[in-house]
């Protein structure tokens, strides 16, 4: 930004009132500054309000018992915790990451390194896939998987994987584009094949950016509830480690406890909401931190993209 913008040229003119309407223009200017500033403050204020409210409610119950116990069989009873949901979230999101990461990275490699008609179509459809409602993704997995194999952690993982896939493709694609072409040229000049160049030069160079993108997608999938309602279904009773059985997740437990009328269940749900927000924010901030430390792709990755 050049410094000339910060000057107010008209201040140096002798009398403001010699120009008709000058006062009105200056007043409009100040007013609009104030309006824009107020809207900015209000927006940040909403974020602070939400975080403080969730923290305030959540801290009332969050504690060792909440993190190490399963909910009581009768939801109106106090006590218990969401350990089964936390474990379920890690299992389903883990499955989702294992599915979406290799496919997403490979697809991004195709888009950036090979190009052509298929790549153009895929790029456009990836953007469309980001916009497909996640509950529709859940309905798809229900129709393709749950109908045959029943509600399960795997089904939840597939649904979350489909949610993550376009996000991973897009962030990886951006990172690969930022790898300087000179690196590829140098590799080819040394006699490396295209596959060798991509695997041993391009991917390592972009790796921290790619990891950042995957972490953000992971955080996003962790917070999803809608597709899991139709696939993992939830299980409020005990810890389930078998991914072929119906499984609870943190988000599902927050939802099911929040919509009961019981104070005790809502207290658990608030503690769960705080836990979930904390996990998601830690992942998001860690991803930003990694992105900010690497030369490739400082600002590009961490903002929500259309």
């Amino acid at each position: 930004m050049s410094t000339t913008i910060d000057e107010e040229p008209l201040k140096e003119l002798p009398e403001l009132d010699t120009f008709p309407g000058e006062r009105r223009r200056q007043i409009t200017n100040v007013l609009m500054h104030a309006v824009l500033l107020l809207v900015m403050i209000a927006t940040v204020g909403v974020l602070v309000w939400l975080l403080v409210y969730v923290a305030g409610q959540g801290l009332k119950y969050l504690g060792p018992e909440f993190l190490t116990q399963t909910p009581p069989g009768n939801p109106s009873q106090p006590g218990g915790g969401f350990l089964n949901g936390i474990i379920g979230s890690l299992i389903t999101t883990g499955i989702a990451t294992l599915l979406s990461m290799p496919i997403g990275i490979a697809a991004a490699i195709y888009l950036v390194e090979y190009g052509g008609q298929l790549a153009r179509v895929t790029r456009f459809l990836t953007d469309i896939l980001v916009g497909v409602p996640t509950i529709v993704t859940g309905a798809l997995v229900y129709a393709m998987w749950v109908v045959f194999f029943g509600f399960s952690g795997i089904a939840g993982g597939i649904a979350l994987g489909l949610v993550m896939l376009p996000l991973v493709i897009r962030s990886t694609e951006e990172m690969l584009r930022l790898v300087p072409r000179e690196l590829r040229e140098a590799s080819f000049a040394l006699g490396a094949s295209k596959a060798g160049t991509i695997l041993s030069i391009v991917l390592p160079t972009a790796s921290s950016g790619i990891i950042t993108g995957i972490m953000l997608a992971f955080a996003r999938a962790m917070g999803e509830t809608a597709p899991l309602l139709l696939t993992a279904l939830g299980n409020d009773l005990f810890i389930e480690l078998n991914p072929t059985k119906r499984m609870s997740t943190l988000s599902l437990q927050i939802f099911s406890n929040a919509i009961t009328g019981y104070k005790a269940a809502q207290a658990r749900a608030w503690a769960g909401a705080l836990t979930l927000v904390a996990i998601v924010l830690i992942f998001t901030l860690a991803a930003r931190w990694i992105a900010s430390r690497t030369s490739v792709g400082r600002a590009r990755l961490t903002e929500p993209r259309a």
Partner: protein, 329 residues
């Protein structure tokens, strides 16, 4: 956009082995790219297959009325169709419009402030804070909406419902307002789509040429006039594209809306202060408990409709934003 693709020089002497690996590698990568296409096609096909029994039993057009009463479904009779979905389409579109009416002006203001007015040191932190709104899970928004936002909206809602004399606005804001409403869902949606709309607006505003901004200031424009002359006019189509993409996002939002909208599936609500339902909310509420004849199939009809709606909106938004960024490049 399509940068020149690099390939190693074709050295046919020697390693045919290396080129075989290359070909295999290419095929694996292409297969991964094809998955994206396969997923979209599979979504459309599988939803349609599951929706088909209801569609063929009742006839596609019979779904276009506004009463959803699964308990009245009889397996042997096809008229009347108890599964009307018009009120869900209405709820989806209207909650999203309420959200955009709030979010778009706010996003423009925030993006203008961040790109042109804020001190340079604050630009990145402010952008990050707005982006954090996108990281909060939907279920948390819904929960917070029920206990914090709805009570806070109470006075506003009651104030709005008291304007009853004026023709259109009076209808829009007619009471009674009990909190759970299209309006409350719209406000939470506005907060949820704000980051994405702001991010696109910010990118669009950033492309306004510095020379034009300085020229405006040089001929004596105030800073606000500079924004109006040099930044906003060329950003119009970008803002429209951002709004449409935000709209697409709002269409599909499920859990927060389900918790706030009041889930009235029987009629199109009068105005926006009363309870309604959206396409995602009815699916989330009834999917696992659908036990009436053609109930689940009809929910798939809703899901298929939602898919079509979101594809339409997102493609339109993408076209506009894509064209804008090509202009920029």
């Amino acid at each position: 956009m399509t940068a020149e693709l690099l390939s190693p020089p074709d050295t046919s002497e020697g390693s045919s082995d290396g080129r075989f690996t290359d070909g295999l590698f290419l095929r694996v990568m292409a297969a991964a790219a094809l998955t994206v296409i396969a997923v979209l096609v599979a979504t459309a096909v599988f939803l349609l297959i599951r929706a088909w029994p209801a569609l063929s039993h009742y006839g596609p057009l019979s779904f276009f009325h506004a009463r959803w009463a699964p308990s009245e479904a009889v397996a042997t009779s096809s008229t009347p169709n108890p599964y009307g979905i018009l009120q869900f389409i209405y709820g989806t579109v209207v909650t999203s419009l309420v959200a955009m009416v709030i979010a778009v002006p706010v996003a423009i203001a925030v993006a203008l402030y961040i790109t042109n007015l804020s001190p340079a040191v604050l630009r990145r932190p402010l952008s990050s804070l707005v982006d954090l709104l996108a990281a909060i899970p939907s279920v948390v928004y819904g929960f917070w909406g029920v206990f914090a936002l709805i009570p806070a909206l109470g006075p506003i809602g009651r104030g709005l419902t008291s304007v009853s004399g004026i023709p259109v606005i009076g209808w829009l804001f007619q009471g009674p307002f009990f909190g759970y409403s299209v309006f409350a869902a719209g406000v939470v949606l506005a907060i949820m789509v704000l980051p994405i709309v702001t991010a696109i607006c910010r990118e669009v505003f950033d492309t306004a040429p510095a020379a034009e901004k300085e020229a405006a200031l040089a001929v004596g424009a105030t800073k606000w006039e500079m924004l109006r002359i040099a930044v906003l006019p060329r950003s119009r189509s970008g803002i429209i594209g951002a709004a449409i993409l935000g709209l697409g996002r709002a269409f599909g939002e499920t859990i927060a809306v389900t918790m706030l909208i009041g889930n009235n599936v029987l009629t199109i609500p009068h105005g926006i202060m009363r309870a309604g339902a959206t396409m995602p909310s009815v699916i989330a509420n009834e999917f696992t408990e659908a036990n009436q004849p053609f109930h689940l199939d009809s929910l798939f009809v809703v899901a298929f409709g939602l898919l079509l709606l979101s594809l339409l909106v997102n493609m339109t938004g993408k076209r506009i934003v894509g064209r804008v960024s090509e202009h920029i490049a």
